[in-house]
Symmetry: C2
Subunit: 155 residues, 2 copies
């Protein structure tokens, strides 16, 4: 029932990119806006690049930009990249569920599957275009990102 920190970071990053018009954002800039440690983003962004969600450009004036229209990126897509299966228990996964000793006629599994499906349905039904549209105001509180991402090198 819990999402990993990297999943959190990734979704925030994509939302940030969705709010930005077209130009690429430097990793450092994304880190600042999302209040994510830069060193972790350095690990998260390439994963999304490999998956074809974002595109990167090197050298000065480089950075990351979306590789698709925000309306084509569902929250489910991102979550699945970093999270394992979305089922709450191993006997209720969609792809080769682990056999559980009580599988034969176990009615609990039905409920776990319902939870799984509800989750998938919600996450799959939301795109980053939706999220960006809903985000009106200044959705980042400057006061709270004072403690900078990579604070200082072992000080």
């Amino acid at each position: 029932m819990w999402v990993s920190r990297r999943t959190d970071y990734a979704t925030r990053a994509i939302l940030t990119l969705s709010l930005e018009g077209g130009g690429p954002l430097k990793l450092e800039e994304i880190a600042r806006r999302t209040a994510v440690p830069q060193s972790v983003l350095e690990q998260v962004m390439p994963t999304m690049r490999t998956a074809g969600v974002v595109r990167s450009e090197r050298g000065p004036a480089g950075g990351y930009r979306l590789n698709k229209d925000p309306s084509e990126i569902t929250l489910e897509r991102i979550v699945r990249l970093f999270q394992g299966p979305l089922a709450p228990i191993s006997c209720a996964t969609r792809h080769n569920p682990e056999p559980c000793p009580m599988m034969v006629g176990c009615t609990l599994r039905d409920v776990w599957e319902e939870v799984r499906d509800a989750t998938i349905s919600l996450l799959g039904g939301v795109t980053f275009a939706d999220l960006a549209k809903r985000a009106g105001g200044p959705w980042l509180d400057p006061a709270l990102i004072a403690p900078v991402p990579n604070p200082s090198p072992t000080t």
Copy 2:
């Protein structure tokens, strides 16, 4: 997005007790029927006793039985006993959510809350009476519980 093993065990135990008519079941017997290591059940059952879900009797002919009617025990109740908050992320818990740097106007949180609410709604809407009623056949595959709970004492 994942439920702990102890939660799994606990729900299986309660379902087992719900299927049993009235008489108390020995911990050892529950362990066998649910294919749960007895030593772990020894830790899980008392938790549910303290919570008032089950009742125990000592001595020979002792064991555990439900302390309420199965129709009064929701799956949510049991899950909450062993699982932390049901929200998928710390900024979306119902009780004192942890402030997240992007809280101001973050539209992601809305979705996390929807997931949370959907989960709660599903788990809260199912009682063990429902689960027991739906369970018709021999819902335990004997072949699979061959590897006994507490195999043998350091042999």
